[in-house]
Symmetry: C2
């Protein structure tokens, strides 16, 4: 149930002093092969952290041997010096892995991917980070996935891991993310591993397919980060050749599981909300309408108050331009937890029939009557605890 | 300092029982002429309340004699029955105004504009509303603007009025709006009056010009309502002929004043925040970037916490697509209350130099280094009181 569940991987997570709490804050995941296939999906934010710039370049050849991840600082908006810090980190990981492997086991800096998360606009404590790399490489072991998953936590309250077991091969994954959590892809770091035999092109295509309908459909607070990274490493250690669609299905299972865990642990949330749009003209239209609702603060505060205030849903739906989502506003139906409170844009069943207090999970369904496509976007309610967590200290 | 400040207008605001508090909830503003020029700007939400549908039709001939406004119910998403309620309300206003005026003073229902505000998805108490119309028409007087401004309040804590005095003529206005407050135009009701002599085309053009840079640049909580309406009535009673640009300037003054009052009274807010984008490629790009920042919950909670967390500003800027706002992300500068905390996307002056606690007003400036256009969008911080007001009861 972790990145070390598939064969051919070692990992570790150590405390390097980047987090003021003294908790684990540096993780290393190593792919021992025989393959070194790698792919990555990175933030669509135009402001990109140094590790994102580095990883895009390093993974462009479809290969990587290791990922180093740190919490305690995003290394975003830190200029050329920040980029040099990331470069130095990758070099250091490569050096200590090469030394540990001995002759014939050399790793180059270009085979080390880097992920960072934490406050934007602050330089990392590089000596502490490099010390953490030494300790983490020293501690690498074949059951280290759980320690690594803990080391990448920031405001997360639980480590997030997932596993898809197949016949003779598997996909394991870990993720962090609790705030600044919105798609493009979802704001978070994730490492997914597999022991399947796949080439770089299939790995890249399968990873993009999996993230498009999972991490990209989480929108906790509408805020897209500078550091989003999902990395896939394939070791081929199972010896099982896997087709792209099979791999994509297993990756989707793991990414969906991790996405659901991100929503469940979102900062300050008391409800997890699935907004499903049905009978849309196409999938993009369905996603656009769902996202308009998941980004409405009035909708999110109403759910916090256990109030099925469907006027706030319909008014959010109405903000999506017609060229993005063609539909007739007069035909809109809205169902909340099974009760069709809005029918043909008018009053439907009594809103008092909706029970929102019984369960953390809330299901909203919006029927556009405009086609056959559908999509679900997950979000959270907007609570006092969210405001507290995001105003009381910098993160 | 109200809609009855210009010559040729009477108004009243009465308590009709639509609000459970017993406060004033029905307002009538009458234009006694000699002109009956009118224009309106209405919500761009595709889900439109019955009074919006009515007013769009009624004002299409450029003439109106009266506006009736109610709080205590939006009459949105109420279907054909809700539209019949609005129609009936306009007819009733026309009937009682005609009866009061006597022969030769007849008013048609098509000369009565209607505005409603309150909870979506609930029918109005029509007998109470019509009773309120009787009382309001009975109470109309040339100093009634203040009472009308109070009658349109919902979660507003203060009545909002403004006046632009010119040589021999003037523009007066009132507005309500505290929640579901976002542009397209800003979510609110406003009636603006003038005794200038203007024709319908000039009135319409001047009103659109004025709202575009005022109400449309308020974004308190990102939520666009179904009921937004700004109505302009021109009586011509001053006898002063006014050119369109002169009228637009006076209207802009009044609308800007009212907009600032909306921001100052936004639900639960503790800071009013002006986000100014400078050196953009064009004005639309500047507005798009400013709006991305004003819609970031992480930015808004940081300001509530008096935390100049500029990483949340830069990351929001980075979400605007390049085709919308061309700029080089590596050149971004951000200044908060006069301190340039981010320079060329990197660390600038120490963030500790920024004082956010001293004043309710906060000024953020983002320099795109991409042209010469600029724009300011106003918003508020995201506070515990906002969450409380919007979760504790339906509105």
């Amino acid at each position: 149930m972790s990145v070390t569940a598939p064969q051919g991987f070692r990992a570790a997570g150590v405390a390097a002093g980047l987090k003021s709490t003294g908790a684990r804050d540096v993780a290393v995941v190593v792919n021992d092969g025989p393959l070194a296939t790698a792919a990555a999906v990175l933030t669509s934010n135009r402001v990109q952290a140094a590790p994102v710039l580095w990883t895009r370049q390093a993974v462009s050849d479809g290969a990587a041997r290791a990922v180093v991840l740190n919490s305690g600082g995003a290394n975003a908006c830190t200029g050329p010096d920040g980029f040099a810090d990331t470069h130095r980190t990758a070099e250091h990981v490569a050096d200590v892995l090469s030394a540990a492997a001995g002759p014939g086991g050399e790793v180059g800096a270009g085979d080390v991917l880097v992920c960072s998360t934490g406050l934007i606009g602050v330089r990392l404590d590089l000596p502490a980070l490099l010390g953490g790399v030494d300790a983490a490489v020293d501690a690498l072991h074949a059951a280290g996935g759980d320690e690594a998953a803990h080391a990448i936590m920031t405001t997360d309250t639980v480590a997030k891991q997932a596993l898809a077991q197949r016949d003779g091969w598997s996909v394991g994954g870990m993720a962090k993310g609790a705030g600044m959590l919105a798609p493009g892809l979802a704001t978070m770091l994730s490492v997914v591993t597999t022991d399947a035999v796949v080439d770089a092109a299939a790995a890249d295509a399968a990873l993009r397919a999996a993230t498009r309908t999972t991490f990209d459909r989480v929108d906790s607070d509408g805020c897209l980060s500078t550091n989003d990274t999902v990395v896939l490493l394939a070791s081929g250690a199972s010896g099982v050749e896997v087709a792209e669609d099979e791999l994509a299905a297993a990756l989707t299972e793991v990414c969906a599981d991790l996405s659901r865990r991100l929503v469940a642990d979102a900062e300050g949330a008391s409800h997890d909300i699935a907004v499903t749009v049905t009978n849309a003209s196409d999938e993009d239209a369905a996603v656009a309408v769902a996202r308009a609702v998941t980004r409405s603060n009035l909708f999110k505060t109403a759910i916090f108050g256990n109030d099925p205030n469907w006027g706030r849903i319909v008014s959010a739906v109405g903000t999506v331009p017609e060229h993005v989502a063609p539909y007739d506003p007069l035909t809109l139906d809205v169902t909340v937890n099974g009760v069709q409170v809005c029918r043909a844009q008018g009053v439907g069943e009594p809103r008092e029939l909706v029970d929102l207090a019984a369960d953390r999970e809330v299901h909203v369904e919006i029927d556009l009557h405009a086609g056959t496509a559908s999509a679900t976007v997950w979000t959270n309610d907007l609570t006092h605890d969210y405001v507290h967590e995001n105003s009381a200290y910098s993160s």
